[in-house]
């Protein structure tokens, strides 16, 4: 688009651009402001959090009403400039990430009471938030690299905020792994630029589709997906995640597990579907599926054996990310049509549910930890019973993690199993069933501590600022996503006729 041709529709373009740009720029500005004015950080941070969430909702509404938004920044030729884009998938994830982000912000107000910690937390957290929105809305491969690095650096810095030895060690490892991962990704990008001479995802997509499938595409795909798989902690590259997520402060753990890992996964999905669909065969998808199955079983098993609540939650993230990868072979084996649409929506539904549920879970776990002074599961008895609302949040989030009805992941698993049976890949049903049983075992291992002979709590909610956000997120993952998943299909622009057979 040249500047001239853009001129007549400039006003409309700007209106469409505003929510996308604001969703990224508001937290970025907020980070700068909270850095410059550390005393006002909690106040400014909260205001910015509300504004950012508003921009995200606006983005989603715009996509809902107008369909996908594609925006070339700077008014230059699309191949030269950087594009932002928001389609249904991006909008859904942005909405989830920002609602969770808002809840984390409110929770953090109560969590970081020492001004010192709060001053460190807010600017980094807002940077992380900007990076997340930037990732979900990016339409340019190199811009994604910059966003990935921003995300990685901010996440590692946030994770080490407690300053404890374990936290620094774990997050240093996370930082280094993240750097290797993003450089690997960047190498793939360099190869693509060499071959196709553009970085825009849309243009590359048509260029790749136009050419014969070549080893070059496969190599670029492998490098990029390998890098992102490291970042999304796909088994067996997950080793860095549990210590890093378990040692971070609770609101940060929530953001890392619910959002950061999800962003890397989202990029894999995007590359897979948008760029490399034409060159993929079933075997590549099958490999991802197998790794996902490994993650489901190994992650759940480790979660079951974990002695600490936050470590349990971190291993559960490994397992839950695994579920998402199970969809790849099914998508590959399903021809376009309602069945495939259902799979895609189910995949997203599981990702969204996990986002809400895991954030709620970690926030509740953080409350238990601050209340008990530790998070050793075996000694939690009294605490769990003393904090009914927190325990309730863990229970709700936990049933969403297991995939019990009426949570969103139940619907997701239903459609996953349906897809597996329809495509004849019944072994994923076995994996899903075993994973569900294991996750039920580790969740109820925690919940059974809430029933003891300790004195009865007087009230349901004891600390509203911290407990209500956790409870709300858990409730969304169970009730809203499970009972009203239909709008997701509409948002994705999928054929809403549905039907399995």
């Amino acid at each position: 688009m040249t500047p001239e041709s853009a001129f007549d529709s400039a006003a409309l373009d700007n209106l469409l651009a505003a929510p996308l740009v604001l969703a990224i720029m508001l937290p970025l500005l907020g980070s700068a402001l909270t850095t410059a004015l550390p005393r006002l950080a909690p106040l400014l941070g909260t205001l910015i959090a509300v504004g950012t969430a508003g921009a995200a909702i606006w983005t989603t509404v715009a996509v809902w009403t107008r369909g996908p938004i594609h925006l070339v920044l700077g008014g230059w030729d699309p191949s030269l400039a950087i594009a932002l884009r928001a389609d249904g998938m991006a909008a859904a994830l942005v909405l989830m990430a920002n609602l969770v982000g808002l809840a984390i912000s409110v929770y953090a107000l109560g969590y970081f009471r020492a001004p010192d910690r709060a001053q460190s937390f807010w600017p980094l957290w807002l940077l992380l938030w900007a990076a997340l929105n930037g990732l979900f809305l990016a339409g340019d491969l190199f811009n994604l690299y910059v966003m990935l690095e921003l995300l990685g650096l901010a996440a590692a810095a946030l994770g080490a905020l407690t300053g404890s030895r374990d936290a620094i060690t774990a997050n240093l490892r996370y930082l280094l792994v993240g750097l290797v991962a993003s450089l690997t990704y960047l190498f793939g990008v360099a190869l693509l630029y060499t071959a196709y001479g553009t970085l825009d995802i849309g243009l590359l997509s048509s260029a790749i589709a136009a050419d014969e499938p070549s080893p070059l595409d496969a190599a670029a795909l492998t490098l990029m997906v390998a890098g992102l798989a490291m970042k999304s902690a796909l088994f067996p590259l997950h080793f860095w995640l549990p210590p890093a997520h378990a040692s971070a402060p609770a609101p940060v753990s929530a953001a890392l597990s619910a959002l950061v890992v999800k962003a890397a996964f989202y990029l894999i999905l995007r590359l897979w579907l948008d760029l490399f669909e034409p060159i993929l065969d079933l075997s590549a998808s099958m490999l991802l599926g197998l790794l996902g199955a490994g993650a489901v079983l190994w992650g759940s098993w480790q979660a079951l054996r974990a002695e600490r609540l936050k470590l349990l939650a971190a291993y559960s993230t490994v397992a839950q990310i695994g579920y998402l990868f199970l969809f790849f072979p099914l998508l590959a084996a399903t021809p376009p049509g309602p069945s495939r649409d259902n799979l895609l929506a189910a995949l997203l539904l599981m990702a969204l549910t996990h986002g809400f549920a895991k954030a709620g879970f970690f926030m509740a776990a953080g409350l238990v930890q601050t209340n008990a002074g530790h998070d050793r599961i075996d000694d939690l008895g009294g605490t769990a019973q003393r904090l009914p609302a927190t325990t309730f949040a863990i229970a709700l989030a936990g049933s969403a993690l297991i995939g019990l009805p009426p949570s969103g992941s139940f619907i997701g698993k239903w459609l996953l199993m349906q897809g597996a049976i329809e495509t004849g890949q019944w072994w994923w049903v076995v994996v899903g069933t075993l994973g569900t049983l294991l996750s039920a075992a580790y969740i109820f291992r925690v919940l059974s501590r809430a029933f003891g002979l300790e004195p009865t709590p007087i009230k349901f909610v004891t600390d509203a600022r911290a407990e209500v956000p956790a409870l709300m997120l858990s409730l969304v993952s169970v009730a809203v996503l499970g009972l009203a998943s239909g709008p997701l299909w509409t948002l994705l622009g999928l054929n809403a006729s549905g039907g399995g057979a």
Partner: protein, 98 residues
């Protein structure tokens, strides 16, 4: 194109060399150096792609990407080394700052 391959090929070698060193060497400083060499490899490939012989002006886009990449790399280096320094202090004091 021969020159592009020659130069870029060295970038590939640097990338692999850095990756190998990152994987096999435990000390933080060596890992950081390895990462930087890995990054230099990728940048080198991009610079080689931009190079269009000594007469034609080079492609500025990869150059800008590399500039961005260099700043990102030094940022990451600074953060990683600070983390490492903090750990070293803790070792020295034998305490945990939690």
């Amino acid at each position: 194109m021969g020159a592009q391959f020659l130069f870029g090929g060295v970038g590939v070698v640097l990338f692999v060399l850095g990756l190998w060193s990152f994987l096999v060497h435990a000390p933080l400083l060596r890992k950081v150096i390895a990462l930087n060499i890995m990054g230099s490899g990728v940048f080198h490939v991009l610079i080689a792609v931009a190079y269009r012989g000594d007469t034609a002006p080079p492609d500025p886009v990869p150059h800008a990407l590399v500039l961005t990449g260099i700043v990102v790399a030094v940022s990451a280096t600074a953060l990683a080394l600070t983390f490492g320094g903090r750990l070293m202090d803790m070792d020295k004091d034998g305490t945990d700052d939690a």
